[in-house]
């Protein structure tokens, strides 16, 4: 979660101006990717470097790199260039600026990356990752989809996840377990939750909405079902798998 934290520190410490509402956080960065794809992708490209003189991953912006400055640029456009004024609502503006300012952190990771091709073979073979995860159209939907994990997670976060899945697990990846009043147990990955209900994808890939008042027991599980790959992969294998994961950029 380094990228999220550094973006957070950026907003809270270096850019107090953002403060009245909220700081840049992991979920904003994740959602910001989708905003980016809707509004920015066509010109700025998958790596954010398709416009000459602009490279989001290197933190190279023509009209300022702070979230305030980015907000102004996005809102007003840049006269005389192809950059139009965009009427994003506040939430989307917050998300996309969170995403843009987080991008360059991806490059600052100290994690060793190996060979992505070998990593792909390990991922699909020895690692048995598709038993729970999905990449594009392959694998299980029970665990988190990894099709764009390289665009939303830093390499060192992915490394920590592979070594200690429970410790690295984010709240939004938790599974929940419910027991109905007639004793039936249902377990699945939580997609969403509100006061009365919880939405999950169960172990058979069914989308299920549980009504809490109809359950005898209900808990969100803080232990990951994912095994640690600390012993399973050698250091070089781990580096290869990480290289593969980092290469997964979704729509790219």
């Amino acid at each position: 979660m380094k990228f999220a934290i550094s973006a957070t520190a950026f907003a809270l410490l270096a850019l107090p101006a953002w403060g009245q509402h909220e700081a840049a956080l992991a979920v904003d960065i994740e959602n910001g990717l989708h905003v980016y794809r809707a509004y920015c992708f066509t010109c700025h490209g998958p790596e954010g470097a398709s416009v000459p003189g602009v490279d989001f991953r290197r933190g190279e912006f023509r009209h300022g790199a702070t979230r305030q400055e980015l907000t102004a640029t996005i809102r007003n456009g840049i006269p005389g260039t192809a950059m139009p004024a965009n009427n994003l609502d506040t939430d989307d503006m917050r998300r996309v600026t969170a995403y843009l300012t987080s991008l360059h952190d991806f490059q600052s990771s100290k994690v060793t990356l190996g060979d992505a091709q070998r990593g792909s073979e390990l991922f699909h073979g020895k690692g048995q990752c598709l038993n729970c995860h999905r990449v594009e159209t392959q694998g299980s939907r029970v665990g988190p989809d990894l099709s764009e994990i390289g665009a939303t997670r830093s390499a060192d976060f992915l490394e920590r996840t592979l070594l200690d899945p429970t410790k690295a697990m984010l709240p939004q990846d938790r599974f929940v377990r419910g027991v109905s009043k007639d004793g039936k147990t249902i377990v699945g990955r939580r997609l969403n939750e509100n006061t009365d209900t919880v939405q999950i994808i169960d172990e058979h890939e069914n989308l299920v909405s549980l009504v809490k008042s109809e359950l005898r027991e209900f808990a969100s599980l803080r232990t990951s079902t994912m095994p640690s790959y600390k012993e399973k992969f050698s250091d070089s294998e781990l580096a290869d798998v990480l290289a593969y994961l980092v290469s997964l950029k979704g729509l790219n």
Partner: protein, 521 residues
């Protein structure tokens, strides 16, 4: 002939006046509960209505009557309702007049704002009215007077320079013949102010700066020239006590928000309530909730004025659930601190001393997690006080924190939008009923997600509020039990109101992109 003419003119004049919202009507807004005349319902700002047609017994029979949809969000308006006509703002600064029974539109006024540097969202929270004229504060820091019959602008004055970071999002407050507003922009290095304008002409009557200039009392709480851009914005409507002739306003955070090293001192009147003479703008007293704040604990909440017995004697009080996590009772004649108690989990203070000043805990905020987090234990969403129960109701965020540090392993808890799978760690929203005398929690209605919804209480014992999940609730204000709910499909980030037309009571609330109006089947 002069006298005769005058006599002949009088009946026409009084017929014209009867439809107008005079200052006298504003003073006694509680006597006409069929209308909603000010942002907070009455000058005491308790958001309590004496309407009781919708009550705890029949609230289950509420149904949707109409919806009005807007283009932009956040939609945070509190409507005004006057004799069956509803006036709302839609973001950023359009005004719409509607038939309060059907939602049919009479007119719409589009104001084309040119905001400068906005810290936050281009929101607007509502209007004020005096006579036939509506008043709106704009995101580019103008105050506009609009004819309530036609939607035509009457005058338009610039209150502050938007290019310097000033903006306005609040509903103005009319007192006597003046319109009062405050300036937002506390994250943009402004110097906050409250200003009054002549309602008929837009001429400035007075300005009170929320940061004292050199030579003025309180200036010594700033260092160097930090006072010139120390924030202390005012972005929510104040209250008014006609008996004391004092108007009360909450003041926002000092700037820079999270770095107090460049502005050592208490930084008056940031994070304070100020009591002003509405005729002159002169400061009568102040009380500071969070001296030298560095957690963005704006004291921008609605001052709720309550006359009640305080430990055996009648007292003119002000009740205040603050963003810093404490619930306060003050004496509003002098600003004297009466009591304060945390209503949510907090760890930044080891309580309050006898004068109400926080005893700051030894933890260093920049190294640790801080409760409550950046959005506070509560925020701008209106609380309510019910004289029937004697309880104070507030929308709260409990067990909610922020981390102000680099390199932390734990992600900051946050989520927005359609998906919420974070709240396990992020704290939860609730509607709390607090006993003003003790600060004790009488009941709590917990929500999984947090809430930005204001609260309305009524003589029908029904409390209305909502939350980010998009649910709009009717609760029994005596015990917090849920009587009814409706899923509106969007964040309830506004204060519900109630009114009556043709003998029928309605409840209105803005959520997502819609204004939703409910009534009994």
């Amino acid at each position: 002939m002069k006298g005769l003419r005058l006599v002949a003119a009088l009946p026409m004049l009084s017929a014209g006046l009867s439809a107008q919202v005079t200052f006298d009507r504003l003073l006694h807004a509680d006597r006409e509960p069929q209308n909603w005349l000010t942002y907070s319902g009455t000058y005491a700002s308790n958001r309590h209505s004496s309407l009781a047609q919708i009550n705890a017994g029949n609230a289950k029979d509420l149904e949707l009557k109409w919806i009005f949809q807007v283009h932009n969000t956040p939609f945070e308006t509190t409507p005004l309702v006057i004799n069956g006509i509803m006036y709302i703002t839609q973001p950023p600064n359009d005004v719409v007049a509607l038939d309060a029974k059907s939602g049919a539109v009479f007119w719409a006024y589009e104001y084309h704002a040119k905001p400068g540097r906005l810290c936050c969202a281009a929101v607007n929270r509502g209007l004020a009215i005096l006579g036939d004229t509506l008043y709106m504060a704009t995101v580019d820091a103008h105050l506009v007077a609009i004819d309530s019959k036609t939607g035509r602008p009457i005058w338009n004055v610039q209150v502050a320079d938007p290019e310097q970071g000033y903006s306005m999002t609040m509903a103005p407050l009319v007192i006597k013949d003046k319109v009062l507003v405050g300036t937002a922009g506390g994250e943009m290095g402004i110097r906050g102010r409250i200003a009054a304008y002549e309602a008929s002409t837009g001429k400035e009557a007075w300005t009170f700066y929320t940061i004292p200039a050199p030579g003025e009392p309180g200036h010594e709480t700033w260092t160097g020239d930090a006072w010139q851009h120390g924030g202390a914005s005012v972005w929510l409507t104040g209250s008014y006590d006609p008996e004391l002739n004092l108007t009360y306003w909450g003041v926002g955070n000092p700037w820079p928000d999270f770095d107090d090293s460049v502005r050592p001192g208490d930084n008056l009147y940031s994070t304070s309530v100020v009591a002003l003479d509405p005729d002159t703008g002169k400061l009568k007293w102040h009380y500071q909730f969070s001296p030298g704040d560095h957690s963005d604990y704006d004291s921008v909440q609605i001052p709720v004025l309550v006359n009640a017995n305080w430990r055996g004697a009648p007292r003119q009080m002000m009740l205040w659930a603050n963003r810093n996590g404490f619930f306060y009772a003050l004496d509003r004649t002098t600003g004297q601190f009466l009591s304060g108690k945390a209503f949510v989990k907090q760890n930044w203070a080891n309580g309050l001393d006898d004068s109400g000043r926080p005893i700051k805990s030894s933890k260093k905020a920049e190294d640790d997690i801080t409760y409550p987090g950046i959005q506070g234990g509560t925020n701008w969403y209106s609380p309510s006080y019910s004289p029937r129960t004697g309880l104070f109701y507030v929308g709260a965020w409990d067990n909610y924190y922020s981390t102000f540090t680099k390199g932390a392993e734990t992600p900051l808890p946050w989520r927005r939008g359609l998906i919420n799978s974070w709240t396990d760690d992020a704290g939860h929203g609730s509607i709390m009923a607090l006993d003003p005398a003790t600060g004790d929690k009488k009941w709590e209605f917990k929500m999984y997600d947090v809430t930005d919804s204001g609260i309305l209480t009524t003589n029908g014992d029904v409390l209305f509020s909502g939350g980010r999940e998009g649910n709009f609730y009717a609760l029994d204000e005596r015990n917090g039990s849920m009587l009814w709910k409706s899923s509106l499909g969007g964040d309830v980030a506004s204060g519900p109101i109630t009114y009556q037309v043709d003998g029928k009571q309605y409840v209105a609330v803005a959520a997502g992109h819609g204004l939703f109006v409910f009534g009994l089947r």
